[in-house]
Amino acid sequence: MAKSTVKAVSGNTAAALGTALCSPDLIAAYPITPQSSVVEYLAQLVADGDISATMIQVESEHSAMSVVQGAAATGARVFTATSAQGLALMYEPYFRMSTLRFPMVMAVATREMTSPETVWSGQQDTMSVRDAGWIQVYCENNQEILDMVIQGYRLSEDKDVLLPVNVCYDGFFLSHLTERVEVPAQEDVNKFLPAYKPDHVAFDPKRPMAIDPLTPGNILIQYRAGHLAAMQRALTKLEKVDEEFASVFGRKWGGAIEEYRCEDADMVILTIGSMTGTARVAVDIAREKGLKLGLIKVRYMRPFPVEKIAKALEGKKAWAAVDRSVCFGWDTGPMYMEALAAATGNASSFSVIGGLGGADIALQDFAKVIETLVANKDKPGRHKTLWLEKPF
């Protein structure tokens, strides 16, 4: 069993501790709620000499991503963190980071997008950029945040992958949640995560080369095809990384999806992020009442685990997907829309949207979801979206 230290920390601190254990060479960041304390914590570690990273304070998120991009081009292991408007502002270098195939981990304390003006929780920020070429994993608790930063670097730097990773976790519900976290020993992290030695591109005065010249479509299309192929390889790799992580640290997160009490279930709820914990309790309560209910925790939105989801939903009579964000074009949540595209057959299904702008997703909300599942169970096909509305 690996050595570890038990601490009570916030999700943001867990992200920072995970990052520190990965010994980044450079961190650049701009503060934004609810992420700020991630980089504040790291800045303190740098100032105290606890980690040897270079810390660069920049004037915007666009600059933060541009700075880490330049450093990544020299072969540095880099980190930043952001939320909502910050992510929106960095969109241009954000897209370029993945399409240049530079590995990195960026923590995102997910936050609702304006308007109306809000600073609270929601996954609209990261969901809106799920097709910007990054790997996206969503966490359920603070331990998973810490562990996925470490797994994230390993996956990101894998020679068959070389893609940046977003470790996404619910703003406030996790970023400001304090709970028990096991912090692994540095020697174990070193064993799991070897030093990053890039060989595909680097700013090196002894070996001058042009990076990212103007590229015509006939070549660009090959880059895109290669990027998509890497995403598909990541789908297999992330399972292996999770298994190897388990062999060193004793914790396994389940790869792209985790199935909970699904084996004999005829009804299933799909969840993403911190709501999953509450949903587990809701499933346990429903099971005590004799309902055959299971849960699929969707961990990765990119790459999307199409086959795994199709298989997990096979033979189920009814399912619902609960999103903390919206898909404007489909009158549904985005995870529902993608799960529906992945599912085979014509089971009864519906989208659930809740928890926007910091609203809670509580046990009574899952009770509503379960009630609707039972009512729709014998009526195959798509049903209307259920909004988890809250009283004013």
Binding site: K7, A8, N141, L177, T178, S274, R280, I361
Partner: protein
């Protein structure tokens, strides 16, 4: 599992004191978590927090709707509908107040009711009206949900010796007026 809801005002140190409780429980080998609810971030506005303590991992990641313990850091919050909303029968209530029980409107289904002049203690011992560490002493004494020595250790390392004194003073002076 014990579900606890905290009500206070911005600037009273509700979040910090909740984190101290979580740290104490975790250091003693237990499980606890705290979710703060931020409204508008300014001094004096009502703030909430949701604390759970258990002997196993806590899956719930939502607010507390049916508290078994209420920690109220400011007695001007007693007439807000949110304060006693959903409280379970026998709910323990710890209130920072200089008033007598007869002057306070506390629902009759409350169990233990404990009163402490945490603001007065804070002014006297720390010199500032930050009642959070005194409330910790009252909470420990009134509920027994957290080990007293461990709690004092975390208070000392988080806030310093003066705050331990404030907590001790509250521990000694908290009055159980019911239960």
């Amino acid at each position: 599992m014990k579900e606890i809801r905290m009500h206070g005002r911005g600037g009273q140190g509700v979040v910090k004191s909740a984190q101290v409780i979580v740290k104490s429980v975790v250091a003693a080998g237990g499980y606890a978590h705290f979710i703060p609810f931020f409204g508008v971030e300014r001094k004096g506005s009502p703030v909430f927090g949701f604390l759970r303590i258990d002997d196993k991992d806590i899956n719930l990641k939502c607010q507390v709707y049916e508290p078994e313990v209420l920690l109220i850091y400011d007695d001007t919050l007693l007439d807000m509908p949110a304060t006693f909303s959903g409280m379970r029968d026998g709910c323990a209530v710890v209130i920072n107040t200089a008033k007598a029980a007869s002057e306070l409107d506390i629902p009759s289904n409350a169990g233990t009711v404990a009163l402490v002049d945490a603001s007065g203690i804070a002014m006297e011992v720390i010199g500032r009206n930050i009642p959070n560490t005194a409330m910790l002493g009252a909470f420990a004494k009134a509920t027994g949900l957290v080990g007293w020595d461990g709690l004092k250790g975390v208070i000392e390392e988080t806030f310093g010796a003066k705050n331990v004194k404030a907590a001790e003073k509250a521990y000694e002076s908290v009055q159980k007026v019911k239960g």
